[in-house]
């Protein structure tokens, strides 16, 4: 049986990475772990391949990249732009257009909302192909409504495999361009009143006993991009007590512009700038979710999340994304125990006294 063109997230597991990329596979995995994730589907790598194989597209792409000097940055940019243009101008086959549009329609029905706003994101297949992961990092389109718009942005995500940087990287590493593939996720847009990121360890100290949450009003973009100083919370992972809270002055947030139906930055009303953007119960629930996700994966993770305040509390927190934490996991933390000590209590007491380690 041929591989499917689209897949629902709930049909994906971590074994689905070659088919739907890391991002979408992880969303499926989270759903199976019982985590609340906004529903959606993925255009599979098979879909991508068939799209690229249709008509003369593959040939045209090859043509534009043939004899390209990747060290000539201007030429590289020009080639990238022209390849992406070709991809984005390529019509879908009827079968594929149908598959995507029908899935989108079903998703809208499922969420009881006509022309459901969705986020369209590329989902890279392999971490060891950084060309793909560049694309994955770059392309996220928020608040996309209607089948035509969805189809157009799925195409844009596919073309993101051909950014100048990705092309250059593959050329330098000797990967063939047509060996890599990409998947695209179409996910119900969480109408987030507050969103942000969460680490299941302390990013500054590597302390695994805490969960750190950064949050701001609106979509998570303002936090991820670093455009604002978000509110910052440190939660005890073991007991879920909130240990620290730093409420920042949040001047802007992203949400959908009702006129243009696009996500854009708005100014936070003055009286809300210094208000805690997540209430304590939400912080605790979020941390609890983070703890479950870490437990499921067996290692620290970083997570994107959102709160939809129109929904009743206790059911309004969503996980949009979870990936393995990379900084501290790669670093080998030195043992806390002093080198060469025999490990008895008194050895430690003496070395501790000598070091004069301060407390408190």
């Amino acid at each position: 049986m041929a591989a499917p063109l689209v897949r629902w997230f709930e049909e994906c597991t971590k074994a689905s990475v070659p088919l739907v990329g890391g991002k979408c596979a992880s969303l499926g995995e989270l759903m199976h772990a019982g985590v609340r994730v906004p529903p959606g589907f993925a255009l599979t790598t098979e879909g991508y391949r068939r799209f690229m194989a249709a008509g003369s597209l593959a040939h045209e792409v090859q043509l534009r990249l043939r004899s390209l000097d990747v060290n000539d940055l201007e030429a590289l940019e020009r080639a990238s732009a022209s390849v992406r243009e070709a991809i984005e101008a390529q019509p879908y086959s009827l079968e594929m257009e149908d598959a995507i549009a029908e899935s989108y329609r079903k998703l809208s029905v499922r969420c009881c909302m006509p022309a459901l706003p969705v986020a369209v994101r590329s989902s890279a297949t392999a971490e060891d192909l950084p060309g793909a992961s560049f694309a994955g990092q770059q392309d996220t389109y928020l608040w996309i409504r209607g089948a035509d718009e969805v189809l157009q942005h799925v195409r844009r995500c596919m073309s993101s495999l051909y950014t100048a940087r990705a092309i250059g990287y593959r050329a330098a590493k000797g990967f063939r361009h047509d060996d890599v593939a990409i998947s695209v996720g179409v996910q119900k847009m969480a109408q987030s009143s507050t969103a942000g990121v969460m680490f299941t360890l302390h990013p500054a100290t590597g302390d695994r006993s805490v969960i750190v949450i950064d949050s701001n009003y609106g979509f998570g973009e303002s936090v991820v991009s670093g455009e604002v100083t978000p509110d910052h919370f440190v939660v005890n992972k073991v007991t879920l007590d909130i240990l620290e809270r730093t409420i920042s002055t949040k001047e802007l947030y992203y949400t959908v512009d009702p006129k243009s139906q696009r996500s854009r930055a708005f100014e936070v009303p003055f009286e809300r700038q210094k208000v805690q953007s997540l209430v304590d119960d939400e912080i605790t629930e979020l941390a609890w979710m983070g703890k479950q996700i870490e437990k499921h994966y067996g290692h620290p993770v970083d997570i994107e999340w959102a709160v939809d305040k129109r929904l009743p509390s206790g059911g309004n927190l969503f996980i949009l994304q979870a990936r393995p934490e990379t900084v501290w996991s790669r670093k080998s933390r030195p043992a806390a125990r002093p080198e060469g000590a025999a490990g008895s209590a008194i050895d430690y007491i003496v070395s501790g006294m000598l070091a004069g380690k301060r407390l408190g």
Binding site: Y348, I349, R358, G360
Partner: protein, 611 residues
């Protein structure tokens, strides 16, 4: 951080107290006539030991300060040789004790001390249980000796047996000797007090230290929670009250036990009932030693024991009877505490990445759990059992002084230093032997009257939490765990000092002593007598608490103290009861008034006052 210069503080003598220095040992004074000592005192950081002394010291009560000045320092410095710290130095201003740990500054000297410490402290850690058993024997023998100590009155004519048995000694000599023996027993008891204590705290402190290295963001109280739920005899007295409460219900004598707050009335009523007698007999069986519980910390003579003031245990019994009758539990939820302890310990342990770290964690946790019972139990033996008897023996000495006109009242004796009492007793016995009037009958009563006035003025004085030069970092571990002194607490104390009007303060910071958040009305209790006024669910605000405050914890919703670290009594008990505590706030009893609405966050150490 800026704190007042000790000598400047001292120089502002409270009018009418000029010459107060003679009430305390001379070496406790901050000096200006010795440039070297003066310089040392200025450069040193001194903090007020409010943990032990919530009020100014009486001249006689200074005995325990001298006793631990010696004992703590000798064990640290001369017996075990803790490598980086010598002893703890002491001073007094206006009756308030200031202390300062003395560091070993030369790294080479520190290095030379290491092998001694390893060998000596190592021996104690290795043989802890056996040595602790020995300690109990020594301690109990000392208490028995104290109980047996006879303080003889001076007879008009010595007994005939002195002649027939050719004793060759008079009651005058015996009185002097008995006083010396009494003082020496007290000092000896305090020698034992510190035999294990520094090592016990070291085991705690470095378990804390290691866990904080593993988990830099771990709250201190979570570490101490891992050593909670261990049964110790310090809680036995409170358990006895609960047993008596249950027994009163079982025997059907609740009416008689609860109709009055006056023990004498209750006792009379019970005497009239057959079952009442049975209950009184049950009570009698536990009074020695379990009612040798001080109603304070045991450090002051006026902290009378339950045996001296039966209204206090009676009030505890009545609280428990009421609770049981309402169908409420009076058990400390030990199983719950243990389950939670084991759950969090296992979760933290599972987060340790390296097997060698996990092993070290296990070793240190095991060690901390081994030392825990001693760290709690020594209080029962020394501060409660021994002290309760000791103060009453001193009252016997005082009765003789009074009989001979040296003091007007038994309770006046505390206004004399212990060496002054020795002198005065010589005055008494020589005058008695000679058949003349002691010189002191004219001098001491006047002096005591003056000292009473001085003490009153001292009580009204506000002792600054810290004086001298604060170091860059506070490193001495005992200071942190026991007294709750850290850079952060100092900064918080300094900040409150800068606020001109305490009526504007709405936030207090202390140590997160026991987790949880609660809101309620404040009840400020400065002494244990005041805990009777506590209403169900109120927040207890106290200078510090001690085991005889235990019944209070069955009523309150949370606790806030001025002084103490995460290992202080209030923090430990609140963790056992699973209620929030913020300890070591520095000023809570001065800022908070009874009736104020408080929000106590025992997880972060914050207290908010609704104004």
């Amino acid at each position: 951080m800026k704190f007042p210069v000790p000598h400047d503080v001292k120089a502002k003598t409270i009018p009418g107290t000029e010459g107060w220095e003679r009430m305390y040992p001379y070496q406790y004074q901050f000096v200006t006539d010795d440039p070297v000592r003066n310089q040392y005192e200025k450069e040193t950081f001194w903090f007020y030991d409010g943990l032990h002394y919530p009020e100014p010291l009486y001249p006689f009560d200074t005995i325990w300060d001298e006793a631990w000045y010696l004992a703590l320092s000798q064990y640290n410095n001369r017996i075990f040789q803790v490598p980086p710290v010598r002893g703890v130095d002491h001073r007094i201003i206006n009756g308030y004790v200031y202390i300062s740990p003395v560091p070993v500054k030369d790294p080479e000297e520190v290095g030379r001390r290491v092998p001694n410490f390893m060998e000596r402290a190592g021996f104690y850690f290795k043989n802890w249980d056996a040595l602790e058993a020995k300690w109990k024997k020594k301690m109990e023998a000392t208490i028995r000796e104290l109980e047996a100590l006879d303080i003889p009155r001076l007879p008009e004519l010595e007994d005939m047996s002195v002649v027939t048995e050719a004793l060759g000694e008079s009651k005058g000599f015996h009185l002097i000797k008995a006083y010396d023996d009494l003082i020496n027993l007290g000092i000896k008891c305090w020698q034992y007090h510190f035999e294990f204590l520094n090592l016990g705290y070291a085991a705690y402190v470095f378990f804390l230290d290691f866990t904080q290295k593993l988990f830099p963001n771990i709250p201190l109280q979570r570490v101490t929670q891992m050593i909670s739920g261990i049964d110790v005899i310090m809680y036995q007295s409170d358990e006895e009250l609960k047993k008596l409460a249950r027994k009163a219900i079982e025997l059907g004598v609740v009416e008689a036990v609860t109709f009055s707050k006056e023990w004498t009335e209750v006792e009379q009523a019970l005497q009239k009932l057959p079952k009442g007698k049975e209950w009184l007999a049950a009570l009698e069986r536990v009074r020695n030693p379990w009612f040798h519980i001080s109603t304070g910390t045991g450090w002051y003579h006026h902290d009378r024991s339950w045996n001296d003031n039966m209204n206090v245990p009676l009030s505890g019994i009545q609280t428990y009877v009421e609770k049981v009758q309402k169908g409420l539990s009076i058990e400390r939820p030990m199983q719950k505490v243990r389950d939670e302890r084991d759950r969090i310990t296992a979760e933290y342990r599972a987060l340790i990445d390296k097997p060698e770290d996990r092993k070290q964690f296990d070793e240190l946790l095991g060690c901390a759990k081994t030392v825990f019972p001693y760290v709690e139990n020594h209080l029962f033996y020394v501060e409660h059992w021994f002290h309760s008897i000791f103060w009453n023996k001193m009252r016997e000495v005082a009765a003789i002084m009074k009989e001979h006109g040296m003091i007007a009242d038994i309770e006046d004796i505390w206004y004399l230093r212990r060496d002054e009492i020795k002198q005065a007793l010589w005055d008494v016995v020589t005058a008695w032997a000679t058949g003349v009037t002691p010189r002191g009958t004219k001098t001491w009563p006047a002096e005591i009257e003056w000292r009473k006035g001085v003490m009153q003025k001292f009580r009204e004085w506000k002792a600054p939490p810290a004086i001298g030069t604060a170091p860059e970092v506070i490193q001495e571990p005992f200071t942190i765990v026991l007294w709750g002194v850290t850079n952060k607490s100092l900064a918080d104390w300094a900040a409150v000092q800068e606020v001109k009007d305490p009526a504007t303060i709405t936030e207090l910071k202390g140590f997160a002593g026991s987790p949880g958040v609660t809101k309620g009305r404040a009840r400020v209790c400065r002494t244990v007598d005041e805990i009777r006024q506590l209403q169900e669910g109120e927040i207890l605000v106290a200078p510090t608490t001690s085991p005889s405050w235990a019944p209070a914890f069955a009523k309150i919703g949370a606790c806030v103290t001025d002084v103490g670290g995460v290992m202080s009594h209030a923090a430990i008990v609140c963790r056992e009861y699973g209620m929030p505590a913020v300890v070591g706030t520095g000023h809570a009893t001065k800022i908070i008034k009874t009736g104020m609405m408080l929000r106590v966050d025992g997880s972060t150490g914050g207290v908010s006052i609704a104004r």
